[in-house]
Amino acid sequence: MNKNLALDIQKLRKTYIDKDSKQSVEALKGVSFSIKSGTIFGLLGPNGAGKTTIIASITTLEKPSSGDVLVFGESVLSNPLKTKRAVGVVHQEVINTGFFDLNEILDFQSGYYGLYKNKERCDYLLNKLSLWEHRHKKTRQLSGGMKRRLMIAKALVHSPKLLLLDEPTAGVDVGLRESLWKFVTELKAEGLSILLTTHYLEEAEQLCDQVAIIHKGEVLFDGHSTDVISKYALKKFTIFLKNGTKNEFEESTQMGLNEVLMKHNIQLSDIQDIKIEEGKLEKAFAKMVAL
């Protein structure tokens, strides 16, 4: 039992019977990874890779077929009330509570975690997430971005130690996305451990200390985001020659300009201009998923 790990996913399997085809589907095929306390971990993968199933297993919305999930050393299967207190979750789908306004929603949310008179924290979050002037509105009166921010406020009312963000920036405009990234970095500075699932590789590249790439229920890579890039992504060299020709080469990110020029037998004196594009996680990802 390692308490330095905010989250420890151990050989998680989930099989269910597909309602239409009546066939058994393996959503997770023995997934394992762990998140060090105080870090941001990015879980990347295409739609249907199993990201949401992993989140659902941590929050006990889904019961795994086998394996276990430890939150700060406690099993979600044998000690759910304790692990749930440590976890805050922002679901992928927005929850539209029809009857109540934002103040009431956060008040109830606090109550679910046994907190009474939590107004100070709720007001802080409303302010922090720019929802203060909308606090008397109902969710249906909010824009898509505000609903997302409300979801984040709800997840944080009880000051969790581990925050699960299931595609928090899906369908969100650029400005808001950047302010959310900033907020996530601030949360990390406060000591929060964060699990983020996303399609946006740029997001993972900027924010995450560690990433895991998951595809069809299996972890394809688990490590530092720069390692993924250096291992799988390619640097793109575009070389314009004085005679007007343009040469494009894709090479390993470890390769320097000199080595590239030598490899392709190009003289420095022939070169007019050079453009180098850094390897992107996006490319690495596409390459891995295609394997």
Partner: protein, 257 residues
């Protein structure tokens, strides 16, 4: 306890926000029953024990309001939450299942009691206008007992059905094919003494019959069933339905429709 009261507060606030639909409309329908059956037709119905029909009808309609609204409250709360996704918030929070069951149970008791009491007040006004006397409450403590037992039982059934139901149809089927016939044949409108022996025997298999008659006894001091039997069977109802509700939370789905 904070968690329990939060859930209860949420249930009560929810139905009060839509009070026209949840409180006023059932009261209007009860008032119409009173007017049509109690006042207009009441004069031509005679009961064996000499109780005026309007007096007999008022406690019956009160129980009907109680159980229908207790059932509606918990089941519609869960079903609307299934549509909106709210249930996921409850599911991921550290809340033991029995808190949810008790909070929704008492939410049902509260709404059911509000409807039943207002129905009783409207009934009392009709009673005074028609018969010139106030309707009595012979055993107020037993009346409270039946409010709680009846409200809890039907709120628990509402939880069970709403969690286990896979579609909206299944929920309304229970309401139309089971709840409604049991209520109408359980003695809201009739005394079994006026029925043929075969119907009398069948009525005794209807658990609602005991609840309705227990409640009627607490108000009028007389009913078709002895008080201890009504008390015992309604208590048994609470216990059985509590476990059904608890089971439904374990087996049923919190996820969205």
């Amino acid at each position: 306890m904070i968690i329990f009261f939060t859930l209860l507060r949420r249930e009560i606030k929810r139905f009060l926000k839509v009070a026209i639909q949840t409180v006023v409309s059932p009261i209007v329908s009860s008032a119409l029953y009173l007017l049509v059956f109690g006042v207009s037709l009441g004069g031509s119905v005679s009961l064996n024990n000499g109780v005026p029909y309007l007096t007999f009808l008022i406690p019956g309609l009160m129980v009907m309001g109680l159980i229908n609204n207790a059932f509606q409250n918990s089941s519609s709360s869960i079903v609307t939450s299934k549509f909106s996704g709210d249930l996921e918030d409850i599911r991921v929070a550290p809340i033991p299942h029995y808190y949810i069951v008790w909070a929704m149970g008492f939410g049902g008791v509260f709404r059911g009691s509000v409807v039943a009491i207002v129905t009783g007040i409207v009934g009392a006004i009709f009673h005074y206008l028609q018969l010139g006397t106030f309707i009595s409450i012979e055993h107020p403590l037993w009346m409270i007992y039946f409010f709680i037992a009846g409200g809890l039982t039907f709120a628990f059934i509402g939880i069970g059905i709403a969690f286990l139901a896979k579609t909206f149809d299944q929920l309304s089927a229970f309401s139309a094919f089971i709840l409604l016939p049991l209520t109408y044949l359980g003695g809201v409108f009739i005394s079994i003494q006026n029925l043929a022996p075969i119907w009398q025997t069948l009525s005794k298999w209807n658990p609602l019959f005991y609840l309705i008659n227990g409640f009627r006894y607490s108000m009028l001091g007389q009913a078709d069933v002895d008080l201890p039997i009504s008390v015992a069977i309604s208590l048994f109802g609470v216990i059985v339905t509590f476990f059904i509700a608890l089971f439904s939370l374990t087996k049923g789905s919190f996820s969205r429709w």
